[in-house]
Symmetry: C2
């Protein structure tokens, strides 16, 4: 028998206990072991919960038990769980965690501390989708060329609604909050931080690359307007919040931002709260993984898959996919300003002579060449038009420089907005 302790019995923890019970027979047949959740740790014992395991608010007593075989960490937070996991691993006990923030900061430290003791974290990225396993084991023969992921359901729900209905970001956000798809403070989701944590985890497995969330380019979807969507549709793009990892020589670029994606691509078809992750390998080509990125039972599905892997025994895939460091010189993060891609730029301007020429000349002086251009007349204000540009591939720093210059122009009515284009 495998005894499991669940640290943190919220939505996911309750689902882990429930599924271990409901599917006990099939889980036992698959793992060869009876797996039993024996105790759950909660902060407040008085809070009513619909869960059928012993509960305690004394985490120390659970950490000190010798009969627990696997600890499941669902506490939330970063530094607290970090210390707890280290304690457990040093005792030689396996842990399973869904804590992406913890891993975004301390994954390499945990790998070092674990010393071969299993750390399962399938649930930390894209909920129920087994993307860690796919990347770490299924695609292990490949040099990973790129990862493009829709890994935040809240943002994808909002963008999908904005694409299908002519509503503003603010309106859809309010609706999403009422439906429980968005938090009261949505910054972590719509600002791209949640996706960035997940991206760092995947990038470690794909590339062995180091980095904290603060090191990478993160932009949210707050500035997307219906004018951007108008342009996107005109050029057969779909706007998605993408978490992107790309190999460029000995560097890896990591970035999270809204992007224009050709609507014909599979990743563009991932709608609503669902997640989808496209991985391109040098041998396999493009593969994509689709499914629910959140929710109690979906996330518990991944937590329990990790428990079963540990129960099956002897499994020794290295935590972050590398048994040894890469022999070739390690890959490093590409500085944000060096990133090269295509850009879409929107700016509202006064409808007067010479505007286009001035802007085109600024773009040219910053080494930016224009691929396509649209002009959209103002609806209420006839003296105002919106200019929409798409550029050829150019450098992030050049685009930022150009936007600053354009923003200073007297006839530019508000800050130009930019969305990167991913072909």
């Amino acid at each position: 028998m495998i005894k499991v302790a669940i640290l943190g019995v919220g939505t996911v923890g309750s689902a882990v206990a429930e599924i271990l019970k409901r599917n006990q027979a099939v889980i036992q047949a698959r793992s060869g072991k009876k797996i039993v959740p024996v105790v759950g740790v909660v902060k407040d014992l008085n809070k009513k919960r619909d869960v059928d395991i012993e509960l305690t608010d004394d985490i120390e007593s659970v950490l000190n038990r010798d009969d627990i075989d696997i600890y499941v960490e669902l506490l939330g937070g970063v530094e607290g769980p970090h210390q707890i996991l280290k304690r457990i691993l040093k005792k030689g006990k396996p842990v399973v965690t869904a804590n992406k923030a913890l891993l975004a900061y301390h994954r390499y430290d945990l790998q070092a501390v674990s010393n071969g003791v299993a750390i399962g974290f399938e649930a930390s990225v894209a909920g129920g989708i087994p993307i860690i396993k796919a990347l770490r084991e299924g695609l292990s023969a490949n040099h990973i060329k790129s990862i493009q992921g829709i890994m935040n359901g809240t943002s994808n729900y909002i963008l999908t609604k904005m694409m299908h209905e002519k509503v503003s970001f603010e309106q859809v956000l309010k609706e999403a909050q009422e439906l429980g798809y968005a938090e009261a403070d949505p910054t972590f989701d719509v600002g791209g931080y949640d996706a960035a944590h997940k991206l760092l985890i995947l990038a470690s497995i794909a590339y062995g690359v180091h980095g904290d969330p603060e090191d990478i380019l993160i932009e949210g979807i707050e500035h997307i307007s219906q004018e951007d969507i108008y342009f996107a549709k005109e050029f057969e793009y779909t706007i998605k919040l993408l978490a992107i990892a790309k190999r460029r020589g000995s560097q890896v670029e990591l970035r999270v931002h809204p992007a224009m994606v050709p609507s014909s691509k599979m990743i563009a078809k991932v709608d609503g709260v669902m997640n989808g992750i496209s991985v391109v390998g040098d041998a396999v080509g493009e593969t994509m993984y689709y499914g629910p990125g959140a929710g109690g039972e979906a996330t518990a599905s991944s937590v329990i898959a990790d428990i079963i892997d540990i129960a099956r025994e002897g499994k020794s895939s290295p935590m972050l996919g590398f048994k040894n460091p890469l022999e070739e010189s390690a890959l490093t993060l590409m500085p944000q300003e060096e990133i090269k891609t295509k850009y879409y730029i929107r700016m509202p301007v006064k409808d007067q002579k010479g505007v286009l020429a001035t802007i085109a000349s600024i773009l040219g002086s910053c080494d930016i060449s224009i691929d396509s251009f649209l002009q959209k007349p103002g609806v209420d204000d006839k003296d105002r038009v919106t200019l929409l540009f798409a550029t050829h591939t150019c450098k992030e720093s050049d685009v930022k420089r150009a936007l600053e210059k354009i923003n200073d122009l007297e006839f530019v009515l508000s800050r130009p907005n930019m969305i990167r284009i991913e072909e």
Copy 2:
């Protein structure tokens, strides 16, 4: 060092040797071992090959070598490779195979013979997509409710072309043969047999269910016409060759046939030669896996992933996902006649009074109720119309009985065609 012998050096075998060399550094970092293909077995040494390993036509000498750590079987055929794999496994040596036909017939025997020695077969289903790993390990917490897969690229290429261009099956097949997407004798692919082999492998992992290809419902795409596609578009369906496994109580239905799928579903968006497999679990909900189902490098990606898993050591996921048989009574195959789904029926009839009433009465007498109905006038022949029906859920045997009766009617001009509808 891990020494690999490749039995069969065709497209896939050459790619395995090539990628093991090209990606040697990253594979060594991930697996912790230097993995080297040391010998390849071919039938004809005189045939020119662009591959950089020692070749021999003496398979016995390779099977008798004691220094080979892993055998890769890419020979093709069923009984020959079966005997060879048994010999290797009995010597305690791990094998990796892409041979779906072999596994469709002998998977349980190989599992029994292996006695814990590793058998990798990720490449046997859906080429480069790590679907075996996803199902066996990633979703192991779930009762699998259903699998719906597009697992034959040739058929999907043909159907995609037929949906997008107004061309006949015969025309597209010819084109596919010229492009090398279809064999000179395409029966194995377009007849559904290839997909059926793969389905049986997945069904073993999902359900522990036994069965040979001869035991399950297999229909090909040869009878799909532009009239069917007209109906499909009218009702927002896409026609796909689906391999379906569904749990129904203590039974499992397995079937391969063209199906009308709502165009909004992700599986309907898998176009061209690509593969896609949707798996629904009771905990996770729907997940989908997408990628190249064939091709030398894509298939080699899966072969090498299995080699790396073995090299990482200690990995002991049971071959077909179950360490022990299911404690609850084993699941059995549902007889074909018992299958229940919705049906679309097409029949060309003489344009005369009473036709519709007669047919409706036959359908009613066979317990089939009609959900929707379309009548399409003949183009060249004004006395001929095509009737298109969609039914509510009914029984396979009832539909077959009704079609026999309808076929006997004097005003029915040719055999009615039926396509199952999968919502």
